[in-house]
Symmetry: C4
Subunit: 270 residues, 4 copies
């Protein structure tokens, strides 16, 4: 690999060298500013006064990110793998809408997807620790995958049945104009958001809604239990590896490997 | 048992054979579509344009499910046990309302109960694992039965007393037209749904509501604790005892005692 | 103690004998009916038609409960202790308002306090198990007493400061007419009830409210953690008693008393 | 150190002596009263009648707290350290706004910051126990610092993206007049507050909002899991190791090893 490509790679993709750190800090600032511009541009009173400036700044950032995107493709060993990776697609979606908006006229709000690029910024500030926290949470959620699918299926079926029931009871006079509308109300109620834009008005509708709230509340706490369990489990486990069978996942108070029975190293205090 | 009945049984009730899997996938699609039709039919703008088509599709699915229901009764060994099982009743309720609606004119919304049949679909996609997750959750809830009855009784008594108090304080001017109405408000508030269709307007009513929210919040978190405990218990630790050192507290996936390294009995499925 | 007093005591206060069980069931029905009458009486349309009947039934139940109250005082060994016990006061408050309302004209809604008497009904239906669940929950809450006082103090201080801040920012135009009003809004928001009867309307008010919601949410989950911990702890502990020092509270996996070191009986599987 | 300074210090800063306790009780009453005055003064009907009295009382408390502040500075050994400590700044902010309001005319509501001084009051009533509870909670939160930063970053990014999406879908007709407005709605919805002052009105907006509620709910329960874990960890198990069998996992109140019965080292206060 050519020397300059190696340096470019280290600067853009890593944060170990001084140049890499400087690049990341500047990029962080650029992303935050560019997202801020998109947000502020949507405020009518501001857009009326600064339309030209907003446009100029947006184009500047878009060109900057386009150059950065090109440099990323040039400097990696396997460009296709980068292009179709999660961050590669995010990087592309961060610049494409501006060009499309220039051609078709609308839709540059999509560019707030740029904020996803901030996820890459965790590696700054010695955030290896945070990344591992983040991935511990992510793993906890992944480990609950099956439970969450079952849970969401049950919620969906409950929403359909409760929605149809309240639609049949309340009718169109109370704002429940269709089953989809009533299902929207059921979701708003079961998650305890409760906008109040639609609410039951008949005796029986209110009674059913009350029962649903108390039971629905019990239903909706289930994920709390699931996530808590996984987080507890993720933390109740030490990082020791059995020297016999090389398996991990031993409890903090384990003395022997629970898989092969071999002696483990001293339990730490953590 | 006749050969064709055995084949029919395997196709309809099981998902091991190729025919059984195909049947389940087709049934899954049919159920989802038929529920979707009932939901869409309730939307006025759609019903105005496609009333005839919706009606035709609904009758088609109802006939299909009626045939399926008949085949299920024919193919099982003990038809009565199937008919009065949970899924047997759900299957009947999925077709009956259409016939009743044809006679009496109204009420075919009840057919969204068809969505309950989707619960049977977990066995598809190798979802034995999910079924066991589902039943683990169900068992966790069952194990908390007593606590939940106590909890619901306490909530009900709290709702009656708080409802009567706010009715006495606020009176009819603020929308608390009767104690049942005030009890509905108490449920809406204690579950933190908070529609805002009724809200206290006097100083003392607002003060009482504030106290109730903070205390009621504490009350309503109790099920979280209960469910979490049961989920933790269900997943954390098996009840096996090490025959070497007589210690308990081993993980469900442990093969060896984590204290003395002795071999444990086979881990159960629970 | 005279024979008839003993029999009376067993009938009224206990549920071991056939007479005692019958008495409890009848009392349960009477309490539920009498509370129901008070609730229904508050509904205008019903009260307009059945005012006389409601009045008659209320007086009948009140006389019944008055006789019961007198019999309770007569049959216990230490009447004063009963009168000033929790249930003694509840029993008195269940009848007194009716007489006071007859004299002063208003306020018989207080009688819904009768519903508290239902708590005594847990002993029916072999609910010793439930009582122990109830008292396990109560003990879990009691054990968190200090934490809850600290938590409520912090919440109160937060409500005062946030309330004053939003009052200063929003002013009277947005409905925040005074600091107490703003504090009510802060409680409604921090508990995630969110009626929407008052809501911030300025930019800065909305920003502050957003920050408060996210942080306030984190604050309000603290009790969840506390209660869960106590419930977990209450269940992680077996009921074995050390034969040496007679202390309880040993973990399910303990082999020796953690207080005096004496050997414990075999750990059970529960 | 001069005798009188030592006595002054013990009286003002500590609560061991009789004088110190009396001082603390009086200060507690003074703080509560002065905060109450600021709160009541904001109520128009009260301020119209008692403006002069409120003003007099406020000045009296402010002078009192000014003298107290001066005495605190005089009596501590290192005045600067006190002045720039958390409580030193709170003490200053408790009196300064009154003087500034006298000069500039407005803003004495800032004085509710006085309520923060109540935190110091925990030491009264033998609340060392409560302080340790408070700091246990604080430590639990601190220990989750990294996780909370990751969590808040993810929430912020989700709010930006969801806000922009709903702004693009709903447009200004439904009240989503700008992206910041839509982000405010996203926070109100994801925390399940749900005022209902803005709500989606189109089909697609309602669908997206429903998905966001269910997923956002799952997102927002994560802190519950985190805090619970930390509280459990903080309270459950000490880090002491048995010198006899080298096992860990003893309760915080254990005196003897629960595995071998050997004596443990003194339990710490943590």
């Amino acid at each position: 690999m050519a020397r300059w490509r190696r340096t470019l790679y280290e600067t853009i993709f890593e944060a170990e060298t001084r140049a890499g750190k400087t690049f990341d800090v500047l990029l962080l600032v650029a992303i935050v500013l560019s997202v801020l511009v998109v947000i502020l541009e949507s405020v009518n009173s501001l857009d009326a006064r600064f339309a030209v400036q907003f446009d100029a700044v947006e184009w500047a950032f878009t060109l900057l990110f386009t150059i950065e995107y090109a440099l990323r493709i040039v400097s990696v060993d396997r460009p296709l793998r980068y292009i179709f990776s999660f961050f590669g697609i995010v990087d592309l979606l961060s610049i494409l809408p501006m060009y499309l908006a220039a051609i078709f006229g609308h839709g540059h709000e999509v560019m707030v997807i740029r904020s996803l690029r901030l996820l890459r910024m965790f590696r700054l500030f010695g955030m290896g620790r945070m990344l591992s926290e983040g991935s511990a949470l992510a793993r906890a959620v992944l480990a609950s995958r099956d439970k969450i699918v079952v849970f969401l299926s049950v919620v969906l079926i409950a929403v359909v049945i409760v929605g149809a029931a309240i639609y049949a009871i309340e009718g169109e006079d109370s704002g429940f104009t269709s089953i989809p509308e009533a299902m929207y109300w059921a979701v708003v109620t079961m998650t305890t958001v409760g906008y109040g834009d639609i609410a039951p008005e008949t005796w029986f509708g209110k009674f059913l809604a009350s029962v649903m709230m108390v039971l629905g509340y019990s239903l909706i706490v289930v994920p709390t239990g699931i996530v808590t369990t996984e987080v507890v489990r993720a933390h109740g486990v030490s990082t020791r590896t059995c020297s016999g069978c090389l398996k991990v996942g031993h409890d903090a108070d384990a003395l022997h490997c629970k898989f092969c029975g071999g002696k483990l190293s001293e339990p730490g205090t953590g």
